[in-house]
Amino acid sequence: MPVTRKSARSRGGAAAAAAQGKQQTLSFHHRVTKPTVKTGKDLVKEEETPETVTKKKDIKVKDDTTEAPKAESHSEEEGEEHHEKKKKQPHAKVKKPAKKAATKHVKEHVKEHVKEEKEKEDEPKRSEIELCALEIPQSAIDAYWNKIDSARMASTVHKKHTQDLTTGEKVLRYFDVSSHYGPCIGITRLKRWQRAEKLGLNPPLEVLAVLLKEGEGEDKVKERAHMDELMNSVSAGP
């Protein structure tokens, strides 16, 4: 069709038509608000804001509202999501709303942040003895282990088997093998400790300290005795 006056006008005036608002166009003035993964850089910025430690494992959203005004220019959503992804703070820390403690906590956040989130609901009531055990620092546990080790007549022969274990795991394995507290198979370590406590056998508090410490991945405290896992392992044969 020969170019009509109408089409000539429309072709030439495409931009003009757009300017007149006849056609919808994309606009890039609004900010993208979909949630993104935070990078380390962002976290470092947030670290500097002192967070008040209200509850150890509280990841409820309402706590965010107290911290939001302290957060930087990041949007509220990002603040919430940071909170959701925040790791459960390690139990070895005592519950004190101190700024010094806050920086320590926050360093843990950086480490644990990129890992999976572990959502726990309400905290089980801690008994007195568990609170005492929680106050035992890692150095005390190490000292306890060294005492046991030095009491042995011979040093460990096959070091290659034990060097991969943390001191905590070594302490726990020694506790498993102590038949004084009962058989270690078929019962979780924590329950065995509590049973020994109830029967008045005075199991060492350091063992409870190790058991209550939470870790992740390799650091995670094994619930059942190592021997229990070996006995229950099923081997598939030909």
Partner: protein, 525 residues
């Protein structure tokens, strides 16, 4: 026409002679059952049985060692002083020492799961062997703890009953064969005994005035007139539809307990004093049906036999189910319950679980007597603490073994499986002696879990007797027996072996003030 006066005068019709006999009242006994042997409904079975032995040893060992150190401390034998040794394996040859541990009886006649598995024998149901005791020297007694085992020999062992699971302290030395020669043996002895009314005392003070008045009334009743309340103990009622040899006696028993038997003077003086009935096991019997089957097999041809076996569906023969025995028990109880509270312990033949401790028989078995039991709670089974506070119903279906407080006395009773199992281990027939031994070992069922099926306890083992009962009864025994035993700390326990009613037709009456025992035999001629 004959008038009434003429008839009356002639002696054909008589007016009633005296006044109607007054209705007799039954007194109420104070009753408080304990839930020591109740298990959770959602209990796990993942754990090992070794925990039971560990719990038992840990709980009883302090008492045994205390008794042993008192008895043997400073003893010098042959110039050597006795030493205490920590573990069984620390015993040295030629050294005089004493050690505490668990007894293990190694008997070839005892059914052993390890033997069956090693020989790759799969038996569908465990065969019940009569006696484990072989008596030809093949049995060996061992002492065990978490470190190891040592064989015990010596003449001192003959004087005492020994079964797997009792905790002992032995003094002696190791001989050249590696066996431990026993010079002396000690048990934990009776545990501390609570006072009478120890459980109800606190409750009495805290209760409302209503209850206090009742208590005062019963107390004053006891001081004004020596009306002795009695508890009736019976076991082995064994209701069945096939065996009717003792059905007449069961009926007479019902009349006796209701207070309808005999003449009014006896009723007033004796029968109305019976305030509670405790049925100690074996109320239902189903063996008669199986006995009837082989008799029928002789008469019929092989064709009918095939028919009978074809009835099997889902692995059990549904035609062999017979609801009549439980119906008979239910009607017996429902007639008795309006006047008398009943406590029912399950036995070996009753519809409760097969392993120890047997849980209470479910109310569904008693459609008529159910009205006397407490109603089921909404959301029950989740609350572990609730059973402690609820009121026991008039009809209390309880666990076997059972512990409770009746009229202030601590009562411990079982349905008989524990004693029957201990009986298989020893040579003697002295059942009362075995009951006494169980009290002195502080363990109600020492042979659990070795030969007596049991739940694998992990946190707490309830078979250990923590507080000495005043009355210990065992049901379903072949004959009646009673004895009073005394402990080192002024404890006194009345032991009663309740005979099986289906065999002996006897009922036991226990006086609630003096704990004296009467035996009543019901004879139908």
């Amino acid at each position: 026409m004959v008038t009434l006066d003429e008839v009356l005068g002639s002696g054909l019709l008589q007016k009633p002679s005296g006044d109607a006999p007054e209705a007799l009242q039954r007194q109420i006994t104070n009753y408080k059952p304990l839930h020591t042997f109740k298990l959770e409904k959602t209990r796990p079975y993942q754990q090992q049985y070794a925990d039971i032995y560990f719990l038992r040893l840990t709980k009883i060992r302090p008492a045994v060692e205390a008794a042993a150190s008192v008895a043997w401390e400073g003893t010098v034998l042959g110039g050597e002083k006795v030493k205490r040794v920590e573990r069984v394996l620390d015993v040295r040859q030629g050294e005089l020492c004493w050690v505490a541990g668990t007894v293990y009886m190694d008997m070839p006649l005892k059914p052993s799961i390890l033997e069956d598995v090693s020989k790759d024998r799969w038996i569908s149901a465990p065969t019940s062997v009569g006696h484990y005791y072989s008596g030809n020297g093949e049995d060996s007694v061992m002492l065990e703890d978490d470190s190891g085992r040592i064989r015990l020999v010596g003449n001192a062992l003959q004087n005492h009953f020994m079964v797997t699971g009792c905790i002992v302290a032995v003094m002696g030395t190791e001989n050249a064969n590696g066996e431990f020669e026993v010079i002396d043996l000690l048990f934990a002895e009776l545990p501390p005994q609570p006072e009478r009314w120890s459980l109800s005392k606190g409750k009495k003070e805290a209760d409302s005035s209503e209850d206090v008045e009742m208590m005062d009334a019963s107390f004053s009743g006891q001081s004004h007139k020596p009306s002795s309340k009695k508890i009736a103990l019976v076991s082995g009622l064994e209701f069945s539809n096939a065996d009717t040899s003792y059905a007449m006696e069961l009926n007479l028993l019902l009349e006796y307990l209701l207070g309808e038997a005999l003449d009014p003077s006896v009723q007033r003086d004796e029968l109305s004093h019976i305030t509670r009935l405790i049925i100690a096991g074996n109320s239902i019997s189903t063996t008669a049906a199986e006995q009837a089957k082989p008799a029928a097999a002789f008469d019929t041809t092989t064709v009918t036999n095939k028919f009978q076996s074809q009835n099997k569906k889902y692995g059990y023969d549904s035609s062999s189910y017979n609801p009549v025995p439980s119906q008979l028990l239910d009607s017996f109880l429902s007639e008795l319950l309006p006047t008398m509270p009943v406590t029912l312990l399950p036995g070996a033949l009753d519809p409760a679980n097969a392993s120890y401790p047997q849980q209470p028989i479910h109310p569904a078995v008693f459609p008529q007597s159910r009205t006397y039991m407490p109603p089921p709670k909404a959301g029950a089974g989740k609350d572990k603490d609730a059973p402690e506070e609820e009121e026991p119903g008039w009809f209390d279906s309880v666990t076997n073994p059972w512990e409770g407080e009746i009229e202030g006395w601590r009562v411990l009773g079982t349905g008989g499986q524990n004693l029957d199992d201990v009986f298989k281990y020893v040579e003697s027939e002295d059942r009362l002696g075995m009951m006494e031994a169980m009290c002195r070992w502080r363990c109600v069922a020492p042979t659990a879990p070795d030969t007596l099926w049991s739940y694998p306890f992990q946190e707490d083992e309830p078979f250990v007797i923590k507080e000495c009962p005043h009355l210990f009864f065992v049901g379903c025994q072949p004959e009646f027996g009673t004895k009073v035993i005394h402990g080192p700390d002024r404890q006194a326990v009345r032991l009663i072996a309740v005979p099986s009613f289906s065999e002996t037709r006897e009922v036991v009456l226990v006086d609630t003030e003096t704990l004296d025992v009467e035996r009543v035999k019901i004879v139908a001629e």
